[in-house]
Assembly symmetry: C2
Homo-oligomer: 500 residues x 2
C-alpha cells in the first residue's frame, strides 16, 4: 500500500488510480432522470443557447440548427445524433505514460485547484496569484501521488503579461511535472500553442498527437444559456487537434440557474449537451467529457456556496446524467471557507464523497481550493492530498483468504490479550494500514510536547519539506531546448498584440 | 426543510430521521461475506469466548454450550438458532414519543459522544469530566435536532461518587432532555435503576415498559474473546426487562484484533454474535443490535486511530454482516485528533460517510467525540451537528415535477442573466437550501471585518448561545417528584456500598 519514495522526505501511497467498482449512488429514480433528460432536450429545442462566436454558429448552422439573433436552437434528434458520436472512454497520455489518464468507466482521477486569482499559505499570507507560486504549486502537485491532473492554472500568474503568460505556464507544466495538464481554453491560439508545445516535449508531430490526446481543456458555459466566443473557439480548436474537451456549465442555483435542483439539472444538462454537440460538429467522434458544476448560493447574500447538500446531490445526479449518455463525467471538490479549518474540510468532503460515489471520472479542484475558488491554498493542497489518498484506500479491494481470515492468528492470542507481537501482525504491520501524510495520532501529552500543532500547521511544515525535497522529472535535453525556442519565438511573434 | 424554532436562537432543520433508501455500499463480495461468516462460526465453535460472569455462563451452560475454564464454545447450529430469534427492527420510545427511534431498515439515527473521561471547550480548556459539563452537554444535545440519542454518559461525571452517579445522570437524562438515552451497562443494579426511573418519568409500570422499550444499553466485548462479568450481567438484565442491548466488540486491528481486515471482521462478528446469543438466552426474541467498532492502531506507536480507511471499510463491511443476520446495526463517528481542526473533521467524515453508506441504523459518538474518545468537545458537538444536518439533507428526496423542472422559469431569464429576482426563485428561496448552523459563506473582506473567526471559534459562540437559550422540556410535576424521591431513596439504600 505505501512506499517511501526514493530521495523524497514524503512517505505516501504510490501513484495509483481510484476505482470505485461499487454501483454509483443514485438519488434520482429512472423516471426522474428521464424527466430531466426530456426537459433539457425541450430547452435546447425551444429556448436554445446564445452563441457569441461566429465559428461555432457557423458549425451549428451547417448542421441545420435554427439560429435567431445568435440564439441557437437544436432539434432533439440532432442532439441525440451528435452526442451518440462521442466516445464513452479515452486516454490522455502526458509526458510520462505511467501517469496517463484513462477517462471513463469506474476510474476516478483527482486534479489540483484551477484558476484562482489569489494564493495563500500560512507563512506568507494571502496575495495575488503570481508565477513563482504557480510553479511551486505545480511542484507540490507533482510530488503528491494523489494528484493526476493540473487544471487551467494552479493560480493565475498575474505578474506575467496576459498575452504570453500561457507560454510560460505551459513550459512550467511540461518541465516541472510529467502529469496531464489543461490548455488555457481562451481562443484557438492558446490551445494551438499548448498542443504544439506538448508535441515538442513528447518528441512527436502534431499529426501524432492528434490521434493520441496529450492534454485536456475545460470550457464553461456562461450560464444561463450563453456560450462565450473565446471558449467556443477553444473547444473547436481542441477538438480539431484531437484533444479532449470538458464542457462544464456554471450553474449556481438561485443565481445562474433556477433555485430548484431539478431545474438546475435541466439547465446544466442542456448546456453541457450543447457543448458536447459543438465538439462533435468540430470533429466527429472527438473525445469530450460531461461536466457538472451545480451548487447553490446563500440566498441571504448571493454569495456562492460549495460542499452543500445541494452541491452533493447535484454531483450525484450529474453522474446519472453523464452515464445516461455514456460520457465520462467531470465534477469537483469545493468549499467556500475563508480559512483552512473545519468548514473547509467538511464542505470539501461533502463534495468529494458525492463526486466519488457519483462516479465522477475527473474530480477538478480536488486539492488546494479555498474561498469558493478565489484562493489556492498550499496547506489545503496537503490536507486534501491526505483525504484523497485515504479515499483511494477505502476503495482498494479487500483481500479475503485463509491467511487473511486469520483463525490461527486469533487462536494464538489468549482472551483479553493483544496482537502486537503476534506473528500474523509482525509479518504485515509495515504495510497493513494506510499511512497518513499529515494526521497526528499521538496522545494528548505527546502532542503537547511536540508543539501542539494543529493539522493546518503541520501542513505548513509538510509543503515546505515537499518543496525542499522536490525532484525535477526527467526531460530529454533536446525537447527542453525545443520548448525554450518555441516560447522565445512565439513571444517574439506575439509582441504586444492582444491575442483575443 | 428549515424552521426557526420557537423561542430559540438556533435556526436549524426540524427533528427528522435520515433515511438512506439507496442500496448500501458493499465492498465485500457475497463469497467474501460468507467466508467471514463461516470463519466466525468456526471461531465460536472451536475457540469460543471467555465469560467472566457466572450468570452468563449458567445461561450458556443450560443451552448446551461447551464450557472449559470459563471459555464458552458454541456450536454453529446453536448460534444460528439463537440469532434467528432476534427481531429485525424495533422501537425505543423516550419521554417524548415524537423522538422515538425506530431501529432497523434504512433509518439512521445519530448519538452524542459517549463515555469520555475528559471534556474540552475553547473557553475553559481541557479538564476532567464533571457533572456540570455532563448536564451542559445533555442540554446542548437536546437542543440540536440532528441528535437522537445520548449514549452512556456524554462525559464521565468524575466529581460524583462512583456508586450513585448513575442516579444523578439518569435524573439529568430524564429531565434535561426527552430523547432516548443509554443505561449505564455495568452490572444489573444500575440497569434496573435506569428502567425504574424511566417508568417513573413516563408514568408507566415496569410491566408496561417491559413490552415498550424506553432506553438502550451498549455492552462491549473486551476483545479479544473476553466477556466482562459486569457487562454480561447488564446485558442479561436489560434483556429481561425488555430493553434493547447493543453488543459492540472493541476490535482495534493490530492490538485487540488481528492486523488484517478480514480477520478483524471474523473476530468482530464472532464476538458480536456471541453477545446476541446471550441476549436471546436471557430473553427469547429480545431486541438486540449488532455493533461494530473495528478500526486500527498506529503500528509505529500503538495509538488508536479512527476515521481511517480501514475504519471506513470495517463500518461498511459491518453493515453487510448485520444485514446477513437481519439485525439493526450500530456503528460510530470517530476521530483521533487532539484539537477541533481539519483532521478532526476529515476523520469524522470518513467514519460518518461509511456509517451512513453502510446503513448504520445507529451512529454512536456522532457529535462531540475528540482525541480518540478521551475528550467530549463542545465545539465539536456544534460542528458535527452541522455535518449531520447536511448529511440528512443529502438523503432527503429530490422533487421532480413540472414546477420543479422549471422550464418556464428558465425561459423567463435571458441568456447571461440571473435568477435572483425570478418569481420561481422568490417563491422558494427561504426554504430552497439547507441553512447552515456554523458555516460562513461571506466573502473574504466581510469575513475579515466580522472578526476573521474560523469555524471552531464560531462554534464556541454558537454553543454558548444554544445553552443561553436552552429550554427545559416539559415533564409532569408528579413524575419529576417521583424521580427525585427515587434518587433520594436509592442513594440512601446504597450508602457507601460498592455496587459491583
Amino acid at each position: 500500500m505505501t512506499a517511501r519514495q526514493g530521495g523524497s522526505a514524503l512517505q505516501q501511497a504510490p501513484w495509483s488510480v481510484l476505482e470505485n467498482n461499487s454501483p454509483p449512488l443514485e438519488l434520482l429514480s429512472v423516471d426522474q432522470l428521464e424527466a430531466i433528460h426530456e426537459a433539457s432536450l425541450s430547452l435546447l429545442e425551444e429556448q436554445g443557447l446564445e452563441v457569441m462566436g461566429a465559428r461555432a454558429r457557423d458549425l451549428f448552422k451547417a448542421a441545420g440548427a435554427r439560429i435567431n439573433n445568435d440564439v441557437v436552437c437544436l432539434d432533439r434528434e440532432l442532439v441525440l445524433e451528435l452526442i451518440a458520436k462521442a466516445p464513452s472512454s479515452f486516454t490522455i497520455t502526458p509526458r510520462n505514460p505511467e501517469k496517463a489518464m484513462h477517462l471513463g468507466g469506474n476510474r476516478i482521477y483527482f486534479g489540483m485547484v484551477s484558476g484562482p486569482p489569489n494564493v495563500h499559505d500560512c507563512i506568507n499570507g494571502r496575495r495575488a496569484g503570481n508565477f513563482d507560486d504557480y510553479q511551486k504549486l505545480i511542484k507540490l502537485g507533482h510530488s503528491l501521488n494523489a494528484i493526476s491532473l493540473f487544471g487551467n492554472q494552479t493560480v493565475a500568474p498575474t505578474d506575467l503579461p496576459v498575452n504570453t503568460r500561457h507560454l510560460d505556464c505551459y513550459r512550467a507544466n511540461l518541465t516541472l511535472t510529467d502529469k496531464v495538464f489543461s490548455a488555457v481554453p481562451i481562443g484557438a491560439i492558446r490551445v494551438r500553442d499548448a498542443v504544439q508545445m506538448c508535441a515538442l516535449a513528447h518528441g512527436l508531430t502534431m499529426e501524432e498527437v492528434s490521434v493520441r490526446p496529450v492534454l485536456v481543456g475545460n470550457i464553461n458555459i456562461n450560464s444561463p444559456r450563453r456560450l462565450d466566443g473565446a471558449m467556443a473557439d477553444a473547444a473547436i480548436e481542441l477538438a480539431m487537434l484531437g484533444q479532449p474537451v470538458i464542457v462544464t456549465p456554471f450553474t449556481l442555483m438561485g443565481a445562474m440557474a433556477p433555485v430548484t435542483l431539478a431545474a438546475a439539472l435541466v439547465q446544466q444538462n442542456a448546456e453541457a449537451l450543447f457543448g458536447v454537440c459543438l465538439v462533435q460538429l468540430a470533429c466527429n467522434g472527438a473525445p469530450v467529457v460531461y461536466g457538472g458544476f451545480t451548487s447553490n448560493v446563500d440566498m441571504r447574500s448571493g454569495a456562492p456556496a460549495f460542499g452543500t447538500p445541494e452541491n452533493a446531490k447535484a454531483n450525484l445526479a450529474g453522474g446519472q446524467l453523464a452515464r445516461r449518455y455514456d460520457l465520462p463525467y467531470r465534477t469537483s471538490g469545493c468549499n467556500a471557507s475563508n480559512v483552512v479549518d473545519a468548514q473547509a474540510v467538511y464542505e470539501t468532503q461533502m463534495s468529494l464523497w458525492s463526486a466519488v460515489l457519483g462516479h465522477g471520472n475527473l474530480v477538478y479542484h480536488a486539492a488546494g481550493w479555498l474561498e469558493g475558488g478565489l484562493v489556492a491554498s498550499f496547506e489545503k493542497v496537503v490536507i486534501d492530498a491526505e483525504v484523497l489518498g485515504a479515499m483511494a484506500a477505502v476503495f482498494a479491494p479487500i483481500e479475503v483468504n485463509e491467511e487473511e481470515l486469520g483463525l490461527s492468528a486469533i487462536a494464538s492470542v489468549e482472551p483479553g490479550g493483544h496482537f502486537f507481537g503476534a506473528e500474523h501482525t509482525m509479518t504485515r504491520y509495515e504495510n497493513a494500514f494506510y499511512q497518513p501524510l499529515v494526521s497526528d495520532w499521538q496522545n494528548h501529552e505527546n502532542w503537547v510536547i511536540a508543539g501542539a500543532l494543529d493539522t493546518t500547521q503541520r501542513a505548513t511544515q509538510l509543503w515546505q519539506s515537499v518543496l525542499a525535497n522536490y525532484q525535477l522529472p526527467m526531460l530529454d535535453l533536446a525537447c527542453g531546448e525545443a520548448l525554450d525556442d518555441y516560447v522565445a519565438k512565439r513571444k517574439n511573434e506575439i509582441g504586444n498584440n492582444d491575442l483575443d
